[in-house]
Symmetry: C2
Amino acid sequence: MKNKALQEQRIRGYFIDATKEILKSEGLKSVSVRNIAEKAGYSFATLYNYFKDAKDLVFLCVQDFQEECSAHVATRSAKAARGEKKLRAILLAYLEYFVQYPGIFELFFMEKLSDLNKQPDTAPMITGFLDKLCEEEWKYLVANKTVTTAAAANKKVALLYGLSGLLLLYINRQTPSGYPAFLKTANTFIDSQLKDMTT
Amino acid sequence: MKNKALQEQRIRGYFIDATKEILKSEGLKSVSVRNIAEKAGYSFATLYNYFKDAKDLVFLCVQDFQEECSAHVATRSAKAARGEKKLRAILLAYLEYFVQYPGIFELFFMEKLSDLNKQPDTAPMITGFLDKLCEEEWKYLVANKTVTTAAAANKKVALLYGLSGLLLLYINRQTPSGYPAFLKTANTFIDSQLKDMTT
DNA sequence: TTGAAATTTGAACAGTGTTCATTATTTTTG
DNA sequence: CAAAAATAATGAACACTGTTCAAATTTCAA
């Protein structure tokens, strides 16, 4: 009787779609049990039959948003020449996506994950996301002896932490103030991290 | 009639102290208008006679916590030799403070500031805090020609963003997992940023 | 002491999440 | 097909949240 499972998955999908819609339009602050349920066409109580939490539901959107971000990064970095150029394009497109959707940055990096979310390991999925986006280019650079594996590893984490902090302060503390200044700071930071590829 | 002003300031102090107490013990999630007021010994409605918001009140704690953090950094870095050693000690003590009080990191970097908080410019106060802590050491290093002013400026921002991101991911996403791993990552990152002081 | 001004307060309202007994629907069985 | 059993959907209820405002209280000067 797999109809049961199919129907159940469909209904879960309605709730997830409703949540995604709210997240992208009104943002995380407008996500509420009653809000989601209304958009999904069910009572708020029904949500609890399919999900432990609204938070639980919210974190199920992470994968979808990652795919969307991946697509955005892919198109924005398609023209760039392989290697460092492409890596730079990927990093900038990554920043661009979160600047466009601050609510998704909030969801990825600021929202506390509830206990059940630890089960499907949402946290490593998020922290490993940038690595996955850059994976191919780092491989390429290591293969071409532009950078050593060890140096690449260091640069990867420095970029992850640096870009996370940059987005955090830009989105939450208006530092730098204004998108042009943000872009300039981002480029300067990426420059400094990609220098001395063999160090 | 300056008694008026004095008494008013005293009462404001009761509310601020209550808020600080809650922030350090239960954390930001437990900060509520009724919660603060009860600890302060007043009705929840009274809070609105002295502050626009509970958020407003919360951000008034920033300065006090910065002073506390400064003191912690000072004692923890007192023994270090001037220059790079001391700079490292400052950075590690800075991290240490926020790891000890994740609620204060939340307040400094994650909590959205309301409109009134933009008036006393809380945001630059927060983003400039690390710079202020390190100011003397950077001056020393520049004076000793260990690093150029331009290179120092770049390293300052890279450290600010990197450490912010590191704390963000450690506190919110358990990455790295465990304090020893966190310390190792922090040291590696600081190493990479302080290398090539003349570049 | 009295009256006016200032301060403190709780009621009220609109939100929030969550649980659970009741209702409605669907599925299975006779 | 009809009755019974299983499943799913629901809204009432409770405990919170922030915020406003008229009423109660306190303060203080005349």
